[in-house]
């Protein structure tokens, strides 16, 4: 199912689409261009808090017109396969290179999503990576949270966007 048809099937509101569509598209592009992986958006969830199911999460802070964070969470198996695709050799633990790779994937997804969302004045911080099975990702209560679930050839992963200010954010001039 394509991103558009999934959004249509789930009857996602236009306001939510404004956030979901750019990040869904840029996530697919990052994995396709940098890893040569085909990924599919398989689910969209909107909630206030979320317990990550995966082993490794990359975070980037968002400030300016929107405030919050963007999180990319991957399972160890997906992280190892992605590191192998980047480096040519497969790691056997979540080492510094795997952490660096998750941080860079997060950086590229957040950066590309920021540009495609069409809102002026968004700034991103530097990526941080947290590891450990069962770690919890909790967004501020006032944040609008979208969790995008993807499938990849090596397993599922999520992109989580938790931001405030979406209603009042102005579009960029062309």
């Amino acid at each position: 199912m394509t991103t558009s048809s999934l959004i249509s099937t789930l009857k996602v509101s236009e306001e939510r689409q404004r956030l979901i569509q750019p990040f869904a598209n840029c996530t697919k592009d990052v994995f396709s261009m940098m890893l040569n992986w085909e990924t599919e958006l398989t689910g969209i969830f909107s909630m206030d808090g979320f317990v990550s199911q995966y082993d490794c999460s990359g975070f980037i802070g968002v400030s300016g017109a929107l405030q919050g964070s963007i999180v990319v969470s991957v399972d160890q198996i997906v992280a190892f396969a992605a590191a192998e695709a980047f480096l040519g050799s497969r790691p056997n633990s979540i080492n510094a290179e795997v952490i660096d790779m998750v941080g860079e994937l997060t950086n590229m997804i957040a950066g590309a999503g920021k540009d495609r969302i069409g809102i002026a004045g968004i700034a991103l911080g530097l990526p941080t990576v947290i590891t450990g099975r069962g770690h919890t990702v909790t967004f501020a209560n006032s944040a609008h949270v979208e969790i995008l679930q993807f499938s990849s050839p090596h397993g599922p992963f999520t992109v989580e966007i938790g931001v405030r200010g979406l209603k009042n954010a102005t579009s960029k001039s062309k």
Partner: protein, 119 residues
């Protein structure tokens, strides 16, 4: 030909180094942040700089501004997730010669390198 590669991501530096190797460049200096890039540049003259924008200590834009303030005309390629028009203009005004946005395909990077690499 000596090339300076500045990116706080070791993975991204490896990707760029691999691409440089593929076009025959093996004399490569690496820096993990903007200040380190400026320090390396002061120590060793290079023929090309590839720099990320968002780095700790000093940004890639700071690197460009400082390198140009030293009077150097070395070609600089900015390799970054920053793709908004205003930022591209700011980078070019600061003295960037070319601009590549992440994510990119290997061929995109090689095409940029082909413009500046003389081996």
């Amino acid at each position: 030909m000596k090339v300076l590669v500045a990116d706080d991501s070791g993975i991204m530096r490896k990707i760029i180094v691999r691409s440089l190797n593929s076009v025959g460049v093996t004399d490569i200096v690496e820096a993990a942040n903007g200040q380190e890039a400026i320090d390396r540049f002061k120590e060793t003259p290079v023929d090309l700089i590839l720099t990320d924008w968002n780095m700790p200590e000093k940004s890639g834009l700071d690197v460009v501004i400082e390198v140009r303030a030293m009077g150097s005309q070395v070609p600089i390629i900015m390799v970054t997730t920053e793709a908004q028009k205003g930022q591209v203009i700011a980078a070019i005004q600061a003295g960037v010669n070319d601009y590549l946005t992440k994510p990119f395909e290997a061929d995109d990077l090689r095409a940029k390198l082909d413009k500046f690499v003389t081996v």
